[in-house]
C-alpha cells in the first residue's frame, strides 16, 4: 500500500496531523488562549522532559515501569499461549477452562487491584501480577482462536503423514495459530501498559505512573507531561518490539 506513496512521503503524511496539533497547541498556550498552567506549551514540555531525562529520574522511572511490564508480560503471555493452544487441541480441556476464562476475562483488571494488593502485600509482585493477569487472558484467547482456525486440510495432512499429537501441535497448530497469537500479543501489550500505569497511579512510589500521578497532585504539569511523553515512547518501543518479533516468529507472513 505505502509502496505507491514512497516511504518518505508516507512519513511526511503521517506526521502532518501531529505537527498541526502541536503547532496549534504551542500558539494557544503561549498566547494564553488556554491556561498554560494545565496546558504548558509543547516547547516547555520538551524542555522539562529533557531536564528530567538528564537528571536521571525519568530514566529510572521508565526503567522501573518497563521492567515490571516486561516481566509481567512474559509471565502472562507464555502460560496463556500454552494453555490456549492446549485448549484448542483438547476438547476436554477447552470445555473445562472456557467458562472460567471467559468470566475472568470480562472483569476490569483494575477492579482486581485491591484484592491483588491484599494477596501480595504492596510490593512489586503485586504490580507484576496485575500485568501478567491481564496479558494471560488475551494471550489465552488469541492462541485458542488461532488454534481453532487452523485449516482442517493442514490437520489432515499432519495426520496422513504420520505426525503424532506433539509434532502436530509444534509443527502445525502453533505456526497456524501464530498470526492470531501475535496480533493478540500486540493488543495485550497495549493493555499491559494501561494496567501498569493505572496500578502505579494507585499503588507505587516509583515508575512512570507514580510520577505522572504525583506531578498531577502537586500541579507540576510540565513534569506530568514529561511522564506522559515517556509512557508514550515506551509504548511505541514495545509495539515495535512485537512487530520485530513477528519477523522472527512468523517470517512467512507478508
Amino acid at each position: 500500500m505505502s509502496d505507491a506513496l514512497g516511504p518518505f512521503r508516507a512519513i511526511l503524511l503521517g506526521a502532518t496531523i501531529p505537527l498541526i496539533v502541536l503547532a496549534a497547541w504551542q500558539v494557544a498556550s503561549t498566547q494564553e488562549w488556554i491556561n498554560p498552567l494545565f496546558w504548558p506549551a509543547p516547547s516547555t514540555i520538551a524542555e522539562r522532559t529533557w531536564d528530567e531525562l538528564m537528571g536521571g529520574a525519568l530514566a529510572t522511572d521508565s526503567f522501573v515501569t518497563a521492567r515490571r511490564l516486561l516481566i509481567g508480560f512474559v509471565l502472562g503471555a507464555a502460560p496463556g499461549v500454552f494453555l490456549g493452544l492446549a485448549a484448542g487441541v483438547s476438547r476436554v480441556l477447552r470445555e473445562a477452562v472456557y467458562p472460567t476464562a471467559s468470566a475472568l476475562y470480562v472483569v476490569p483488571r483494575i477492579a482486581m487491584l485491591p484484592l491483588v494488593l491484599v494477596a501480595f502485600s504492596i510490593n512489586d509482585p503485586a504490580r507484576i501480577f496485575m500485568v501478567a493477569f491481564s496479558v494471560f487472558f488475551i494471550a489465552f484467547f488469541s492462541a485458542l482462536s488461532g488454534a481453532e482456525q487452523v485449516r482442517l486440510t493442514h490437520l489432515d495432512v499432519a495426520r496422513a503423514f504420520g505426525a503424532g499429537r506433539w509434532r502436530t501441535i509444534a509443527r502445525v497448530v502453533l505456526p497456524g495459530a501464530m498470526p492470531s497469537i501475535i496480533s493478540g500479543l500486540q493488543v495485550a501489550m497495549g493493555f499491559a501498559l494501561i494496567v501498569i500505569v493505572g496500578t502505579e497511579f494507585l499503588a507505587a512510589d516509583q515508575g512512570l505512573g507514580a510520577r505522572i500521578w504525583t506531578s498531577y497532585q502537586v500541579f507540576d504539569f510540565p513534569a506530568m507531561y514529561a511522564g506522559i511523553v515517556a509512557v508514550t515512547v515506551l509504548g511505541v518501543v514495545l509495539n515495535y518490539l512485537i512487530l520485530g518479533s513477528k519477523r522472527i516468529l512468523a517470517p512467512w507472513q507478508r
Binding site: T153, H154, D156, A160, F161, A163, R167, R171, V172, W252
Partner: protein, 256 residues
C-alpha cells in the same frame, strides 16, 4: 491335469487393494450419506483413476482410505498403512518453505534433517521447481503449490498414493508437462495410485483403469481398462485408436 502357463500364474498372483461395501455418512444418523456400499478393486502397482460427478464422494473415498474418517462402514483389505496423500486444493503449510513442505512426511519417519531436505530438493527439481525450494508457498503460484504437494506425497515412497485432483489448478500446457513428470516419478516407484480427477483426458493419459462413480451416495458404476501402451503422453493418447470411443463411453457414464 493342466499346467497353467507362467503368464496365467502371475495373473492369479496379482494382489488387490480390495474395498468392499464402503459406506460413509457425515454428521450422524440424519446427516449426508456420501458413500453407500462402494466396491472397488485396485490391482497393486497400478494407476487407478476415479471419475465422478461433483459432490458424489470422491474426496470422501480418499479420506476413508487415508484413515481420516471415523464413521465409515465396510472393509478395506489390506488396511493401508500410512499412504501418501495429496488432498484436494491448496494443502501446503504456509509457514514452511517448499522444500520443508516436501520433507514434512519424512520428518515423522525419522529421516534426518539434511537427508530429508536433500531428497525434497531433488524431487522439486524433478517437478521443475528446483529454483523455488526455499520459497514460501505465498511466493508460488497455485499450480506450483500443487506440485509441491505432489512432491510431498512422492517423498515418502509409500506403497499407496492417493491424489485428489492434484492438477486442477494448472493451465493446459503445464498440466501436460506435469502429467508426464508425474508419470516419470510413478514409473520409478510403481506404487499403487488412486487418482481422483474430473478430467476424462487426464484419466486416459495417466491411468491403467478408470472407475466412474455414480452420483451421491457414490458407488462404483463401472471400471474401464485403459489399453494404451506406456510410456504415453496426452498427445499419444489422443491419437491412439479407440480413444474417441473410450472418451465417449466414460462421458456417457458420467452423464447418466
Amino acid at each position: 491335469m493342466t499346467i497353467a502357463p507362467p503368464g496365467a500364474r502371475q495373473e492369479e498372483q496379482t494382489r488387490y487393494l480390495d474395498i468392499r461395501g464402503l459406506g460413509v455418512r457425515y454428521g450422524g444418523k440424519h446427516g449426508t450419506e456420501a458413500l453407500r456400499g462402494l466396491d472397488l478393486q485396485v490391482p497393486e502397482g497400478s494407476f487407478h483413476a476415479v471419475l465422478g460427478p461433483s459432490g458424489c464422494g470422491k474426496s470422501t473415498l480418499l479420506k476413508a482410505l487415508v484413515g481420516l474418517l471415523d464413521m465409515q462402514v465396510g472393509a478395506i483389505e489390506p488396511q493401508p498403512r500410512l499412504p501418501a496423500y495429496v488432498p484436494q486444493g491448496d494443502s501446503c503449510f504456509p509457514w514452511l518453505t517448499a522444500a520443508e513442505n516436501v520433507a514434512f512426511g519424512l520428518e515423522a519417519r525419522g529421516v534426518g534433517k539434511r537427508e530429508r531436505l536433500q531428497r525434497a530438493r531433488s524431487l522439486l527439481a524433478d517437478l521443475d521447481l528446483g529454483d523455488f525450494a526455499d520459497r514460501y508457498p505465498h511466493e508460488l503460484s497455485e499450480g506450483m503449490r500443487q506440485r509441491v504437494a505432489i512432491a510431498r506425497a512422492f517423498a515418502i515412497d509409500a506403497d499407496l498414493l492417493l491424489m485428489d485432483e492434484p492438477l486442477s489448478a494448472l493451465d493446459f500446457q503445464t498440466k501436460m508437462r506435469v502429467q508426464s513428470e508425474l508419470l516419470g516419478l510413478w514409473e520409478r516407484q510403481r506404487s499403487t495410485v488412486i487418482y481422483v480427477t474430473h478430467d476424462i483426458d487426464e484419466a486416459l493419459t495417466l491411468a491403467d483403469h478408470v472407475t466412474v462413480l455414480s452420483t451421491r451416495p457414490a458407488l462404483a458404476r463401472e471400471t474401464i481398462e485403459v489399453p494404451f501402451s506406456r510410456p504415453r503422453s496426452y498427445r499419444d493418447v489422443r491419437r491412439a485408436p479407440g480413444y474417441g470411443d473410450l472418451f465417449a463411453r466414460i462421458d456417457a457414464l458420467l452423464e447418466a
